[in-house]
Every structure is written in C-alpha cells, then in structure tokens.
Amino acid sequence: MLASLLRRLIQAIMVILAMTIIVFVGVNVIGNPVDILINPDASQAEYARVVAHLGLDRPLWQQYLMFIQGIFHGDFGTSFVYNKPALSLIVERLPATLELAISALLIAIVVGLPLGLYAGLHPERMSSRLIMSGSILGFSLPTFWVGLMFILLFSVQLGWLPSGGRGETASFLDASWSFLTADGLHHLILPALNLALFKTSLVLRLTRAGVQEVLPQDYVKFARAKGLSENRVIYTHVLKNLMIPVVTITGLEFGSLIAFSVVTESIFAWPGMGKLIIDSINNLDRPVIVAYLMMMVILFVALNFIIDICYTLLDPRVRLDTKGK
C-alpha cells in the first residue's frame, strides 16, 4: 500500500515537472508581452529598461531556472499587468470558480443520476427516449450558445435572473462566496446551469449504460430470488456497482469543469479564474498564465490521486493489497 502510494507520488511529481517545461516554453513563443505593456511612444532606452526589469533579456533556460527556483519558495512570478504575485491573483479568484464548478457538479449529479437510472430501468418508455434524446442535445449544443440563449430567455425576455456578475457575496474562511447570500445565489443559477449542461448529459448516459450493464447480471437475479424488495435490489445491488464508473468519471471531469469554466465565466462576466486567464492571455501576462496552468496540472494530478483512492473504497476487488505481487 505504502509503496504503491509512493510510486504514484513520484509519478505525479514527474508529470508536474514535465508540464513546467511545456508550459514555460509554450508561453514564451506566443508573443512578446513588452509590446503590449509598454506605451507605443516609449523610447528605445525605456523599452530596454522594461525588458531588463521583467527579466526577459536573459536566455530562456535561465528564465526557466529562476521560475523553478521561485516555485520552491512558493513564488510563481509577479503579474506584469497587476504587479502582484500571480499566485495570489489566482487564489483570490479561486472561490468564484470553485463555487461555480461545485454547483455545476451537484446539478449534474442530482439531475443526471436519477434520470439515467430511470431511463435505464424503463428503456422502452416514451419518457426514457425523450430523456436520452435530450441528453444528446446536452452533449452537442455548444456551451457558449446555450449560455447566450439562457441570458436571452431568462434575463432579457423574462427578466427572472441577472445576466452576469456574482451579486452580493458573504465572507467565509477569508474568501467571499456568492452562494451564502440570496442575491449571490440568484446570480449563480444561470452560469451553474450552463456549466452543468454537458456534465449532466454525461452522468445521465453513464448511469443508464451502467444500469443496462448491471441489470442482466446473475447477482441481480439472485438478489431478486432471495425475495428482496425492488428498492433494495435497485438502490443497493445495482446502484453500488453502478457507482464505480460514475464516480470515477465524474471525479475526473471535475477538473475539466474548473478548467473549462472559462467559457461560462466569460459569458456571464463571472469574475473567476477562467475570466482571469482569458484576460491574462489577451495581455500576454506570462506569469499569470504559467501559474494558472501549473495550478490546473496540480489539480488534475491531485484529482486522479483522490479518485484512485475512492475507487479502491468502492470496489473491494481492486483494494491495493499487500499480498499481491
């Protein structure tokens, strides 16, 4: 158990290290930030001074080593635009993205799981076919378009919900959260729904596929032969087996939920990390881009790790045993 954990940890560190190189080099080839930062009328001397100040006059490998050195001191560089540490800029925006992503995930599970279960248990019903067709729409409609339609319908036409911003926030654990106030919650609904759409369809289809795979199994028939109630058969015997793939995939998808909240955040002017990264890319604010990408890498690696552990808890057959090999 311990050995396999250690092995995973080393693998994770290698992945992160490889990503630093890719990210750092990649960001360096997309453009020269000084051209954007500096006043176009500035003199040649002024230009050189800015370049030297940002450390961009050094060779790439030296910049990289400085960057790595910084990481070990918890310093991901200083934003060119805001002149603040990139990391603290991102962490400031983290709660907004986090609450958006978690709300979306909750919606996806609360809506997708029961619907998928229903569609799997009663595949011949008209309502099930309707659900499955609906999930195809959820998969294929582009998020940005659906977001715009939401605003058009619920904000402009009906006037029920605000079209953007976080609304009122309340402070909790040194961060401000929208979901703690009625107004903030009001603002959260549309973007969360928008972000949840794709994942809901995913959870729904995974659940349905799982039900159809588990139902014909002998152990389900045997459970019925024991005289168990239908509820017990479905919610214990079927659901427990079903949760293995559903938890694995939704867990992994949580990372992409955070990473790809960019689109939703832009449409609903949600001041989260996604909005920050788009702005930073436009300004070629290298340290922020690099820091953000590094955060995402670490997030994905960490999620993978957590899911592996969840997986072993759910499925007794894959417990990381010490007896085997």
Binding site: Q217, F222, R224, A225, G227, L228, S229, T236, H237, N241
Partner: protein, 324 residues
C-alpha cells in the same frame, strides 16, 4: 399425498407480440412434485430447463414472458400472482441456486450483508440477530470460521465456497422448494460431490423438495427420485428415476443415456445422437426430435400426445421397448 407443485401446460415465450407468437422456450410443460421429493430436470443446453425454473420463480428476463398454463404451488397459482405476494414467496418458500457461483454473489457487497438482507427481507429482526443467524447458516454449510468470513467479499472465496454461501442463503428460511440450476456444473469434480452432499443434507433437514436442473445424468441417478427429460422446450419423458434410466421409452432419452461415456464399452466409439439440437427459430414441425430419430415415420409430423401409464409419461408414437 397432495402435490407441493403442479405445473400444467406451461408456456414461456420470448419476444412474442399480441399477433405473432414468440419463440417458445418452454412449450406445454406439465409435471408435479411432491413434498420432499427430488426431481431431476434433464436436457441439453437450450432445451428450456433453466427457463422452466425461472418461470416458476417469476424471474423470466424481458422480453421473455409466461404466456400460458398454470403453476400451482401450495394451492395458489403463481402465474399472475401479485408481485408483492410473489416476492414474499421467493427466498422464503421457493429458493433458487444458480449455475455460476462466480456470478451469483454481488461483488461489491460483503457476504454478511448479502446473507442478512435475505434474512431481514422475510423476518424483520435486529441487525445483530440477523448477523448471528447468518453466521450459523455459514457454519452449517461447512465454511470455516464463519464469524470472520461474514466480513469478507465474494472474491475472497473460492468457487466451491461461494456455492456453499449461495446454498446457505437459499436454505435460510427452510423453503419448501429449491430450484437448483446446474449448481455443480461450474465446479471441480471433487467439489461437485461435496456440494451435492451438502444439498442432500440440507434438503433432508428441512424436508425441502428439489428441482435439480442439469445435463449430467450421473448426478441425477445419484440424487433424484424422478426425472423429467426436456427437448426443445417440451418434456419428452417423465417418471421415476430407475424406470427412466433403466428402461427409457423415448428415443431421445435413450440416446442421452447411451451418450454417457461409462455406458459405452472400452475401445468402442462413443455413442452419439446424430445431428444437433435444433434452434428454436427452426424447429421441425410435429415431434421436434424426428429429424434426429431413427424411429421417425410420417406420423411424427404431428405432435404426439402425452402417453400416461400411471407411473410415467412420454410423448412418442414409437416408444422404445427393448430396454438398454
């Protein structure tokens, strides 16, 4: 003595609609079983013996459906019985053991959970009481240190041990009837004998009647009081085990017995029934066995009626009489 179970003219179809008949996996099957007796239901793969078992349990998978006949269990017709009533019978008075012990236990639930839930489904009691009973049940089927094994998962058991667990579960409520669907087929020969002995012991203790579904005549000869031979969805011959095995009337039964290797003389070619089991989609009209039968005549193009001699029945125009 009144029959515990009387199946008459049972028909189970797959994929039938209101206008078109489906495939008849079980076709006009009738037999009766007295309390405490063992019936061997014999036939090749696909002959409909498992579907017969599931029809009695009310567990035929969609799109299969019981479409005709009656299954009288203890004076009640199980066909069309209210689902909740049926649930109360299942596991309590009619139990079933499946073929593949690797597949019958839920891989993500502890053995203890799977036993206690079966207890509590019929006898409401506290968790600890159910657990104590589960432990005793495991001990009874010869599982060592049952207390610890309750917390184990199915994959930590061998195939034979899992089948013992399945038998323990089936016997929990001392049912009147157990349907054993080839419970030893997937096991080693040595384990087979142990499981059969286990079954006999358990059935004897609680006076349970058994329908033992198998294709293995050797097992049936050791175990059963009566035999029912099934071919392509129909019962072709039924009767007491000595009579059927010693002096079969139906050519198919005869062929089946002759195919057992020990019946053949050393150095001679093994006896075979020519041809193969017809697919249900392409059954010959009349007697389904006629295309493989040496005795078939023009008459066999109509379905032979059941001949009932009082002790045995068979469906054949040209019963074999010369013995084996």
């Amino acid at each position: 003595m009144a029959n515990l179970l009387t199946v008459s003219n049972l028909v189970t179809e797959f994929g039938g609609t209101k206008t078109a008949p489906g495939l008849r996996a079980v076709n006009d099957v009738s037999f009766a079983l007295e309390k405490g007796r063992v019936l061997g239901l014999v036939g090749e793969s696909g002959s409909g013996k498992s579907v017969t078992g599931f029809s009695i349990m009310g567990l035929v998978d969609r799109p299969g459906k019981v479409t005709g006949g009656r299954i009288i269990f203890d004076d009640r017709d199980l066909i069309g019985l209210d689902p909740e009533e049926m649930r109360r019978l299942r596991g309590k008075r009619i139990a079933m053991v499946f073929q593949d012990p690797m597949m019958t236990l839920n891989p993500v639930l502890r053995i203890g959970t799977q036993i206690t839930e079966a207890i509590q489904a019929h006898d409401p009691m506290t968790k600890s009481a159910a657990r104590a009973r589960a432990r005793d049940a495991l001990g009874l089927v010869g599982i060592p240190s049952p207390e610890e094994r309750l917390d184990a998962y199915p994959h930590e058991f061998s195939g034979g041990m899992r089948q013992r667990v399945a038998i323990a579960i089936a016997m929990l409520h001392h049912p009147d009837l157990i349907i054993a669907d080839e419970p030893t087929t997937a096991l080693d020969v040595t384990i087979q004998s142990q499981i059969i002995a286990e079954f006999q012991k358990m059935a004897e203790i609680s006076g349970t009647a058994v329908i033992w579904i198998t294709h293995d005549l050797a097992i049936v000869s050791r175990l059963a009081d009566d035999i029912a031979v099934m071919y392509a969805g129909r019962l072709v011959e039924t009767g007491p085990v000595e009579q059927i095995l010693g002096d079969p009337r139906h050519p198919y039964t005869r062929g089946l017995i002759q195919s057992v290797p020990s019946q053949n003389q050393r150095g001679h070619r093994l006896h075979q029934i020519p041809g193969m089991t017809p697919s249900l989609t392409r059954l010959p009209g009349g007697c389904s066995f006629r295309t493989r039968c040496g005795h078939a005549t023009e008459q066999c193009h109509t379905i032979p009626e059941r001949t009932d001699t009082g002790t045995r029945t068979y469906r054949c125009f040209h019963p074999v009489t010369e013995g084996l």
